[in-house]
Subunit: 373 residues, 2 copies
Amino acid sequence: MADAQANMRPLPTIYDVARAAGVSIASVSRVLNGHRNPRQETRDRVLKAVAELGFVPDGAARALSVRLKEVVGVVFRRPQWTENSEAVFAEEDESLQFTDVINRGIEVAAQHRGYNLLVGSVAINDHDARRRIMTLARKSDGLILHDQVLEPARLAQLSQQVPVVTLAGVATQTTANVRSDSGSSMRELARHLICDHGYETLAYLAGFADSPDNIARRQALAEEAASGGARFIEGPQWQGNYYAAGGARVVGRLLADRAPLPRAIVCANDQTALGVMYVLAAQGIDVPGTVAVTGFDDIPVARHLRPQLTTIRQPIQNLGATAFEVLRSMIGNREPASRDVVLPTRLVRRESCGCPPEPPHAAWRGRDEQAAG
Amino acid sequence: MADAQANMRPLPTIYDVARAAGVSIASVSRVLNGHRNPRQETRDRVLKAVAELGFVPDGAARALSVRLKEVVGVVFRRPQWTENSEAVFAEEDESLQFTDVINRGIEVAAQHRGYNLLVGSVAINDHDARRRIMTLARKSDGLILHDQVLEPARLAQLSQQVPVVTLAGVATQTTANVRSDSGSSMRELARHLICDHGYETLAYLAGFADSPDNIARRQALAEEAASGGARFIEGPQWQGNYYAAGGARVVGRLLADRAPLPRAIVCANDQTALGVMYVLAAQGIDVPGTVAVTGFDDIPVARHLRPQLTTIRQPIQNLGATAFEVLRSMIGNREPASRDVVLPTRLVRRESCGCPPEPPHAAWRGRDEQAAG
DNA sequence: CTGAAAGCGCTTACAG
DNA sequence: CTGAAAGCGCTTACAG
């Protein structure tokens, strides 16, 4: 039944190379690992055999021997869909752009160092998450954890056994953390909305309640609203979840209840803003004319929305690349230079806050140039 | 200098467990691997020790022993930016949504089977691509290759040594391929444009010239245009590259040359359409009033564009999941049920072709319901 | 049912 | 400079 075919030639081992070159496996290993011991002639014979056989060392064997896999594990939280979640956004959230761009950043940095990226996801309420993550850990040299994948107690435990860096979390005695500066740009955004546009009521559409980023963003906005004399709106009915569906649900309910809308909705992130704008558009409510909407992250889609999304730019790829470098610095059981690294952010004014569209030419030149202008 | 800290407790090995349980390592291994040999008492002692020590087997050691890593390698092509590429799209293309969603599909399917996803990317013209891919192969049990990562000759060679499935490529004697049906939906789209909307000139904004998908899409469009009596426009100046920047460049040049625009631009994929619509919007050209634009893939952003993008829906996640299952079926050096699996596609009429916007209520119910209506 | 031993494919002291 | 041997941490025939 199991239609075994013998036509796949087995991969050569170091023994095959040694035999072909007429040397010991130790010599093969030495030339392949760049030791300078082997003399030229030996080296040549080995290299020739390696080339002819197309030999590449088995990763598992090498890893077992040198105690280094050159693999970095990354785990993120995969949303889980319930009956009543909005199907419109299901696949979109599965795309998780923010996460994807970070992972891309990790991968690129890893590649430079000869590492590869081993990806795992856990579902929310995945009671098997712990084991799954541990399995991933045993297939890699260290772990990068996205937000919300492990509760603090578990995290503390895990990080005593393997190097761990978290993203958008908080640094601890045993873990490192990489995040971006939420506060200062959020303050700038608040001032822009209040002073430049004269908006008097600002609502905060929150992310996960216990996310440090969420707390910092809310806090900055609340403070600036207070000092700017604007009304700050928040509360249970403004509780989102960082996903488009969450933003859509919040605004959908508000509209259904015929509740008055604030002049501006400041979203915890771009995905949330996506959902908000989708619902507002469907209801024919003008953005930014009737209500302004802003995001946070500047994910790639942000500028394809109409109106283009005013948001706060995080160096997303860089977040990932930095996380990798920090992790790598911890891998030999060493102390990282810093356990809490924070990257700068920048306000990107586009149309959804009420600013005029950028002139075509500027758009052509791209976002980086805009900053200079 | 290297600030070695001894506070990370080493992970327990199977020897530690055996000692704690007072049994041999063979017994530990047996209970952990679900053999039914060990009697209850032995089993209990082992399980207790495992729990206390938090033992999880090392992946490399296990892989070496059972000759199975439970890791699937995935490689995709990472775009490389030249001086004159449009910076606006740089990060966006780095996000590569189509690829990301496929990878997500692979990951989810893999997770179900206890596999993890090992990701690697190669840059275009990466002359080290071969070695990089081989290294990835030696860290996994088989490879899934996205489009354009390896030339056919190399692919043939590689696939004799490790199980390989390609995505959107073509099946060979030694590789399997998973793709979606480009032809029938593209024909339907062409007819829709010609018959329902009465458009008389259709341009095809191409993807990579040697991509089978690109060829099939162009072909289907050309044939329907011919039989429908519409003018079919193509050529070197309509050569894109599947990225937003490519689409933007093509249309940007056309506009700069003051060349007449076709009534409809049929793009090889959604990312291309993204770039096209971005440039048209920047120039104040009405879509679909002046020129209609369509895509292919139905990536998550498609419905957030204004106008919403008419496109052909591929079951993107499913493509990934299927690729994984096919690969897994090949992993024990076995013959897959089929070496050429093709998944169905479906035309999704939204606004950019000239159709009216969907009523809000339908939008709420989501895309799957629309199909029924 | 259980343990001692061999073996998976590498790397690296250890001798020479 | 080079080879024989030990060891990395598992699994699984092989005996008992």
